[in-house]
Amino acid sequence: MDRFIYADNAATTKLSKSVLDKMMPYLTEEYGNASSLYNLGSKSKQAVESAREQVANALGAKPREIYFTSGGSEADNWAIKSAAYIGAKKGKKHIISTKFEHHAVLHTLEYLKKQGFEVTLLDVHSDGVVRVEEFIDAIREDTCLATIMYANNEIGTLQPIAEIGKICREKGILFHTDAVQAIGNVPVNVVDDNIDMLSLSAHKFHGPKGVGALYVRRGILLDNLIHGGAQEFGRRAGTENTAGIVGLGAAITDAVNNIENKTKITSEICSYIIENALKIERSRLNGHPTKRIPGTINMCFEGIEGESLLLMLDFKGISASSGSACTSGSLDPSHVLLSIGLPHEIAHGSLRLSFSEENTLDDAKYIVEQLYPIVDRLRVMSPLWEKIKQNG
């Protein structure tokens, strides 16, 4: 294999060298416990607190509003459960979300349903964008929380976050957003967007895996997630993952400073692919053509199945992902593709390519070049393609 192209940055990204360099001391010489009194401990404490400041600055928040977590899933779980408990105390047990949230959100909502909460999942239409009017219509007297993702992880579509945030603020509804796919791709400001709670994860923007953060607006009382020590303002006990937290702080600082440059590179790549790969007959772009993060594209090729497409791309050195049933590990294709109304047989033939600033236009050209013969080859093998052609 002479070529390797990583085109799955929505799944995870490569840890940046400069971030690793900043983490390294805390994995070696600076091993103190941040809760300890002596110098070695206080150096770790300082590192954690300066990372908290970095995360806060990146979001337009205050350091006191940032809680470190083990990643996006934990932040989602924590935010939603906390908001639900706050609501329940006031007798409000209705939550609004969308059909195509990440499972970290959807499964938490399923759990809350078993605890007596009612959940309205908004339609995301064929373009993968929530409608503000429909959000307003879904609001009830007893709505305590809205949780709407900033950008979708499979199709990359951006949601009207600022507008929904404004409405929530007016109505006294807590507003959480899973911004795991947005940070480093589009500017996010919790004040401008009227966000009460926001989840993020370091490994999506060249930081380490297993660390993330939850922003919680001052005055909102988070439920205690892990009982024990006084870490994270007494809400999440456990000795801090100092190196990971330092990595998150460094990575988010780089990521937000680099949005413009990254956008330039990834939009060029995606435009090239959209323009050229979609010349393949019976192919389509999934999700809104412009309301999207610049580096993620999701396409479908009729008559073929996603997993075999991925295997063949992998053979050519291209790492990508799909929402087919075979790759989702279930019998149904991804809930995201079904939520935008794709029939099963078309959703099975999906391909997600997601890029970072480390990709080049040359990568895009190589991918398109490989895509044509691979799609052809799978279609020649496919009795479904035969039927599609016969039916015109």
């Binding site: 075999s308 049933a325 149904d332 047989e345 009795p383 479904l384």
Partner: protein, 146 residues
């Protein structure tokens, strides 16, 4: 995730294509579930002299159809009837648990082609071949909807 044998059959499928004047054609699976297998057989003196397949599906669906054609080509109809999905899995050096249904589909595709062959020759296939299960996703909502 896949064994070398699976990858070999996936990347270099054997007997892929169609037989224009096939003596039996069988098709199983459906697009909604994400896999369809179609088998063509040519029969002479109760021996399968040629076999071809076309498959829409994941890597293991393509690999199981490919190896299944190899396992019946040149064999008698009776021998082909005996081919089990287990034998297919073994020949591939194993399949991940959630891909076993692909091997069942391959076995069923061959049986469907044999049934078609018997039917075309005026023989009721059911006592010989048994019932063909179109899809073994018995817990698959999309299949039971149809």
């Amino acid at each position: 995730m896949y064994t070398e044998q699976v990858m070999d059959h996936f990347m270099n499928p054997r007997n892929m294509g169609e037989i224009a004047d096939a003596d039996g054609i069988g098709e199983v699976g459906n697009a909604k579930c994400g896999d369809i297998m179609k088998m063509y057989i040519k029969v002479k003196d109760s021996v399968i002299v040629d076999v071809k397949f076309k498959t829409y599906g994941c890597g293991s669906a393509i690999a199981t159809s490919s190896i299944a054609t190899e396992m019946i080509k040149g064999h008698t109809l009776n021998e082909a009837l005996q081919l089990s999905n287990k034998a297919v899995v073994e020949a591939l050096g194993g399949l991940p648990a959630h891909k076993i249904h692909c091997s069942v589909l391959a076995e069923q595709a061959i049986k469907a082609a044999l049934s078609d062959y018997y039917r075309k020759n005026g023989i009721d296939p059911e006592p010989i071949v048994g019932k063909i299960t179109e899809c073994d996703h018995d817990h698959c909502e999309s299949c039971s909807e149809d």
